[in-house]
């Protein structure tokens, strides 16, 4: 029998990873010692990175999700210390009934704290609170040469900055000290506004982003001509009163691996057109549960299987504010012209708060994310055109989502990469890092 292998969320590229489970902090050196000597390995969390940033060069990873204990929690101040394998889903399960919630959450709750730090994830409130790393008060790491090391903005600040957004390369993250935020209800007040053009989106964004802690927009990337740039703008804030209730785990599961992607020109066009018409009125305000606001896709586990065995690639870029509107317009036009498209194209105005990490993805500007079924020739030529636009404007791609970025573009977009490389633990190396630095 073969041991079950681990993959990445986009299922492309396909490098099955052999798992070496870690359940205890003090076991990390023993697990490392049991892995192939001399070959670089990597820590692996929930496997929600889309491309090859969660793959070790040796295809041997430390599976961290079983190391998921709280080390301490002060429920009066919302400051917790937890092991790196704790997933946000479980953290919410523990913290929400006590009136606490993560300050920053990405679009899935199935990420570990270690993964959230390593990718310095951001969420719909980036324009107000910045990235996940801003709420991290300190870390402990296991470094093969030094053993356990503490890093925080005050202690080993360079190591801290290199670890936040450092793609798990500076050591095995053991614990994370994290500040949570108060919430008075588990519900969200949501306001959804239909817009008909990209200009209208930017107007909505500049008018409403200050009124809502959380904002995001979905756009119909298949629409051309008169309909181009249409979409839905969603703003939200935590409700001020109500119950603090954890939602039960999802029960739906995408059950099969279709031979070919079910996402194609026809289904995407149909989905996008329907999604746009989901609300007929210009503006709809209502109260929704936190799960449907933050994690709509988590309701169907293994939704990535819809793209079939070949998988998919996400293209997520951020372009600087000045000139960003025009670049996004051209990127969307390029995608619409290619005829390939995405179920959900997500547009987000990112804020100006600096990230603590040397290689954090967000910039003050506009971020766009789209999923494309994996088709080598189509994606290669489309992505090359998009890359030219993004890099020409001083923008960059998100390593956590990436499977194609060139070394040249990476080094320009993340000029501090050499400082991370200087602090990289020589025992650790991802396929992504090898691809973009060597």
């Amino acid at each position: 029998m073969t041991v079950e292998m681990l993959g990445s969320w986009g299922r492309y590229p396909d490098f099955p990873q052999q798992r070496h489970p870690v359940h205890w902090r003090e076991d990390v050196p023993h697990v490392l010692a049991g892995m192939p000597p001399g070959l670089p390995v990597l820590a692996y969390g929930c496997g929600r990175s889309y491309g090859d940033s969660c793959f070790a060069v040796s295809d041997h990873v430390l599976a961290m999700a079983g190391m998921d204990r709280l080390v301490s929690a002060d429920w009066a101040s919302g400051l917790i210390v937890a092991e790196a394998g704790l997933a946000l889903a479980e953290l919410i399960h523990i913290a929400l009934p006590r009136g606490w919630f993560p300050c920053v959450t990405p679009g899935t709750k199935f990420v570990t704290l270690g993964g959230a730090v390593a990718n310095d994830v951001h969420g719909k409130n980036h324009h107000v609170v910045g990235t996940f790393g801003r709420q991290v008060r300190g870390l402990t790491l296991y470094r093969t040469a030094e053993g356990p090391v503490t890093a925080s903005p005050a202690q080993n600040p360079e190591l801290f900055a290199a670890t936040v957004g450092g793609l798990g390369l500076t050591g095995i993250i053991l614990t994370v000290e994290l500040q949570l935020r108060r919430v008075l209800s588990s519900d969200m007040e949501q306001c959804c506004v239909r817009f008909d053009s990209l200009d209208e989106f930017f107007d909505l964004s500049s008018a409403h982003d200050r009124n809502f802690e959380y904002t995001v927009a979905w756009i119909d990337c298949m629409a051309e001509g008169r309909n181009s740039g249409r979409g839905l703008y969603v703003g939200g804030r935590h409700a001020e009163r109500g119950e603090l209730r954890v939602e039960p785990p999802n029960s739906l599961r995408f059950p099969v691996d279709p031979r070919v992607s079910l996402v194609n020109g026809f289904t995407t066009r149909a989905f996008n057109a329907l999604y746009y018409r989901r609300q007929l009125r210009k503006k709809v305000s209502r109260r929704v549960r936190y799960g449907s606001f933050f994690y709509p896709l988590d309701h169907v586990s293994s939704w990535n299987r819809i793209y079939g065995r070949a998988g998919f690639q996400q293209y997520q870029c951020v372009v600087p504010q000045s000139g960003g509107r025009e670049i996004i317009r051209r990127v969307l036009a390029e995608i619409a012209r290619s005829g390939t498209g995405s179920f959900l194209a997500v547009l987000k105005q990112c804020g100006a708060l600096p990230s603590p990490g040397l290689m954090s993805f967000p910039l003050h500007g506009v971020s766009l994310a789209l999923d494309f079924p994996q088709r080598a020739d189509v994606n290669r030529s489309l992505f090359a055109n998009l890359d030219a636009l993004v890099h020409g404007a001083g923008g960059r791609l998100y390593p956590a989502k990436d499977a194609h970025m060139s070394a040249a573009h990476f080094k320009i977009a993340y000029p501090a990469w050499e400082r991370v490389e200087a602090l990289r633990d020589p025992r650790l190396m991802s396929r992504f890092w090898q691809r973009v630095t060597q």
């Binding site: 029998m1 073969t2 041991v3 079950e4 489970p21 359940h23 205890w24 902090r25 003090e26 079983g66 204990r69 709280l70 080390v71 301490s72 929690a73 917790i80 523990i94």
Partner: protein, 247 residues
């Protein structure tokens, strides 16, 4: 209401998952385990999750001479005990158990003798108390000795038989005994095995059913429940056929 709980083998994956459920509800916990560092990590986790008190007692369960001290310490910490969960054990290397009699006997001691000794000590205490639940982790492997893991299965079968008798004996004294038979569970004990993913449960799924079985005073439960059917089939296969199967 299950408030005061002693957990033996508290660093095991299933025990931790059960303890977390009770901790979240504010239970008082007394944890017994062999590794002092690991059990402290578990205790810290349970405190942070809401346990109203957590104390630890470090002992190797094979050292049955310390059971009296363990119980004394537990009743000091908890007073009346509502629940004892006996969850310690190992998964023997079947190949090694076949070649090395010393290893086989030592594994049997850990998984059968030490469990039975612990249950017997707890039973005496609970009988005096006149209330409470004793829950013990058996295994589907104990339902029938199979070629691939009969060293483990034999030990678990001994535990099942002992628990069954103990249940009948303690019934008259107001003490209930639950035998839990997990199937494949994704824990550190099974981390090195290649388990069929469709049949492998998460620890919390198993823990939810264990909690239900304890609160509902069930006698014998399979977890996940579908293992009842699988084992019913495995049990009725005639021996003439069974010995030819590679199960």
């Amino acid at each position: 209401m299950t408030r005061n709980i002693i957990i033996v083998g508290a660093t095991s994956g299933i025990a931790q998952a059960v303890a977390r459920r009770y901790a979240q509800k504010g239970a008082r916990l007394f944890l017994v385990a062999k590794d002092p560092v690991k059990v402290q990590a578990v205790a810290a986790d349970l405190r942070a999750r809401g346990a109203s008190a957590v104390e630890v007692f470090v002992m190797d369960m094979n050292d049955t001479s310390r059971l009296t001290a363990m119980l004394q310490s537990a009743s000091q910490a908890l007073g009346r005990m509502d629940l004892a969960l006996v969850a310690h054990g190992t998964l023997p290397d079947a190949e090694r158990a076949r070649m090395d009699v010393g290893y086989l006997v030592q594994q049997f001691r850990t998984n059968a003798e030490s469990v039975i000794a612990c249950l017997a000590s707890l039973a005496e205490h609970f009988q005096t108390q006149g209330s409470g639940v004793l829950a013990v982790i058996g295994s589907v492997a104990g339902d029938r000795g199979r070629a691939t893991n009969y060293a483990y299965g034999a030990a678990k079968a001994a535990v099942h038989a002992f628990a069954s008798g103990l249940r009948a004996q303690l019934f008259r004294h107001g003490v209930h005994v639950v035998t839990i038979k997990p199937g494949f569970v994704a824990t550190q004990m099974t981390a090195q095995l290649d388990l069929p993913s469709a049949l492998t449960a998460q620890p919390d799924t198993v823990a939810a059913r264990i909690e239900w079985a304890i609160e509902a005073r069930r006698n014998v439960v399979y977890t996940p429940g579908f293992w009842w059917l699988i084992m019913a089939v495995i049990r009725v296969i005639p021996e003439t056929l069974f010995k030819r199967l590679k199960l």
